[in-house]
């Protein structure tokens, strides 16, 4: 790895990286191309690797007949609210778990770990009944509350890793300079943590944006559906309209990909600082 690179070794490496890049990018290219074909061309032979007739008809149908704009708005609202609140709450718990020793700490960390092992389907029925009692079924706030709970465990562990990477001396100095513990936390620690906080928010946002099963269970009316629920509705009918489906897929993937592109470096750091430590 560190030693000299032979020409043959280099060729193998370049070939491998190239093939993997093609394999990674091709499905995304393909769904985009499909979405831009005129509806008749999607099922044409031979298969066209570049649209013969460019058309935005699949997209206009999505907004005309399927009301996709509403679903996008719903997803945006729910994912943003849940992402922000979950990040703030996790920040508090992560701070405590990173900076203090107390008796229930191990138990709390275990409780967070165990949530990752539970298949969500075991909770769906009771959750539906609970939300009915709270009058929060088919309600965007209700869905956001559930998503917050889903995001907290992992987000806490991730942010804890970030907090632990910041030397204690930083807060110590701030407190010697006369700031209170809260002052040191909010005015000194959080600004340093900003990349980690942004990464945690994006991670939460993307998870909520992509979530399917809770949303299918809790949102019944068309006006409240999120994007994944709407996509699921497209497949449960017998024939899939692949034109609209690929346009919908592109519109669903695009926002999260843009976010990830901006924050990928921070997310990498966040994931690894949380877990490498073990």
């Amino acid at each position: 790895m560190i030693g000299k690179e032979t020409p043959a070794g280099r060729a193998v490496k370049v070939a491998f990286l190239g093939v993997w890049l093609l394999f990674t990018v091709f499905p995304l290219y393909w769904i985009t191309v499909t979405s831009l074909k005129a509806p008749g061309d999607i099922f044409a032979f031979p298969i066209a690797y570049w649209p013969e007739h460019f058309s935005l008809q699949n997209y206009s149908e999505l907004f005309g007949t399927a009301d996709f704009g509403t679903y996008l708005t719903n997803s945006l609202v729910v994912a943003t609210v849940a992402g922000v609140v979950a990040t703030v709450i996790s920040m508090l718990s992560a701070y405590v778990l990173a900076r203090f020793e107390f008796r229930t700490k191990t138990a709390l960390l275990m409780a967070a770990l165990v949530t990752q092992m539970i298949p969500s389907f075991i909770a769906l029925g009771p959750l539906y009944l609970l939300m009915t009692d709270l009058r929060l079924v088919d309600n965007r706030l209700g869905l956001a509350l559930v998503y917050i709970a889903v995001c907290i465990p992992f987000c806490t562990v991730m942010l804890r890793g970030f907090f632990e990477n910041i030397p204690d001396a930083l807060e110590e100095a701030a407190m010697i300079d006369g700031l209170s513990r809260f002052g040191a936390l909010f005015r000194v620690l959080l600004p340093v943590m900003r990349p980690g906080i942004v990464a945690a928010f994006i991670f939460n946002f993307v998870n909520c944006w992509n979530e399917l099963f809770l949303s299918v269970t809790l949102m019944n009316s068309d006006a409240n559906k999120t994007v994944p629920t709407a996509l699921n509705g497209f497949i449960s009918s017998f024939n899939i309209d692949w034109g609209s489906m690929s346009a919908a897929a592109v519109l669903t993937i695009l926002p999260t990909m843009v976010l990830f592109a901006f924050a990928s470096r921070h997310i990498v750091q966040g994931l690894t600082s949380g877990a490498v430590k073990g």
Binding site: L21, P27, F102, I148, N210, M257
Partner: protein, 326 residues
């Protein structure tokens, strides 16, 4: 990183028991003294997270857990009496159980091995700086931004028997003569979902392993080079042992996660054809949709118990190895 966290925890523990803080870390000692103020701060900061997770995760899970021992069918909600272990027996007696269990093993094993191997190779090669490395990393990161369900739909379209691009490419390159009905043949359907999952999961391994590799000091490699160690020996005697802990933990996390990941299969085959691609969690969805909540919950309990057992044994086994080594 590790040393920082150990110095952080150790003085805390001693100071709480002994009362006096060791001179090396006076500030940490002060913080771990038991005071009402400190207790209040911990409680106030932990409370929101604890309340959310307790109300919206643990409460429904426990309520769902007790359904496993009751007759809970949507077809007859008047009778929700306790039935003991009947639901568990129903799960084990179901003719699909064997297939589902086999598929789950295949799904986890067939996903994790290629993900680990390809992810490791990517990480090794991405460690050295080259032009466009940042762009390359960002591009191969993209699958991670997509939901498993949507990935299922994406690959379902590509593996379509009539209009799918996979058949077209294979025919153009002469690898097959006639289109394959990928998703309606049980053997090829499982291969197709595995390919989709490898596409999705390699990135995670690449990231984790790359981060671990960056913690290996260069001196170790220089020493190995002086000793005349070849590439293979360097890999197996320095690289892998050094990052063993990260590797073990990443594999554990991914096994749990892949096991509990119905989304992709749900979007791609829906468990079909004829239950042949069901794993435990997609099968659980099917049973829920049929309205037998008792049986579905029993299956859920089996999953949680199985994963907890697995995680415990796995952690014990990997810990032992680490101690033996050092």
């Amino acid at each position: 990183m590790t040393t920082a966290s150990t110095t952080k925890t150790k003085p805390g523990r001693t100071s709480r028991k002994g009362g006096a803080a060791p001179p090396a870390a006076p500030r940490r000692g002060r913080r771990t003294e038991f005071t009402t103020r400190r207790g209040l701060l911990i409680a106030a900061f932990m409370a929101p997270a604890a309340v959310f997770v307790a109300v919206f995760t643990y409460y429904p899970v426990l309520a769902g857990g007790q359904m496993a021992f009751r007759n809970w069918k949507l077809t007859d909600l008047t009778d929700t009496s306790w039935v003991g272990l009947k639901n568990l027996r129903d799960v084990f007696a179901d003719p699909a159980w064997g297939t589902v269990l086999g598929n789950t093993a295949l799904w986890v094993g067939g996903s994790i091995v290629p993900q680990l191997v390809i992810g490791f190779a990517l990480a090794l090669w991405l460690r050295r700086h080259f032009r466009f490395r940042g762009l390359y990393q960002a591009l191969i990161f993209f699958p991670w931004a997509i939901s498993g369900f949507l990935i299922g739909i994406l690959f379902r379209w590509m593996f379509n028997s009539e209009f799918g691009v996979v058949n077209d490419l294979l025919q153009k390159t002469g690898l097959i003569d006639e289109p394959i009905a990928w998703l309606s043949d049980p053997d090829t359907a499982m291969t197709a979902v595995l390919i989709a999952n490898v596409w999705y999961g390699v990135t995670f391994f690449a990231i984790m392993i790359l981060a671990a590799l960056q913690s290996i000091p260069d001196e170790l490699y220089e020493a190995a080079a002086l000793d005349g160690a070849g590439k293979a020996r360097t890999l197996f005697q320095i690289t892998i042992p050094y990052i063993r802990t990260t590797l073990a933990l990443t594999v554990l996390l991914r096994i749990i996660w892949i096991f509990n990941f119905p989304d992709l299969i749900f979007g791609m085959t829906g468990g079909g054809p004829n239950d042949e691609t069901h794993i435990v969690t997609t099968w659980m969805i099917k049973i829920t949709q049929q309205g037998d909540y008792g049986k579905a919950s029993a299956l859920g309990l089996i999953v949680v118990a199985g994963l907890l057992l697995f995680a415990t044994f796995y952690l014990l086994a990997t810990r032992e190895k680490r101690e033996v080594k050092s």
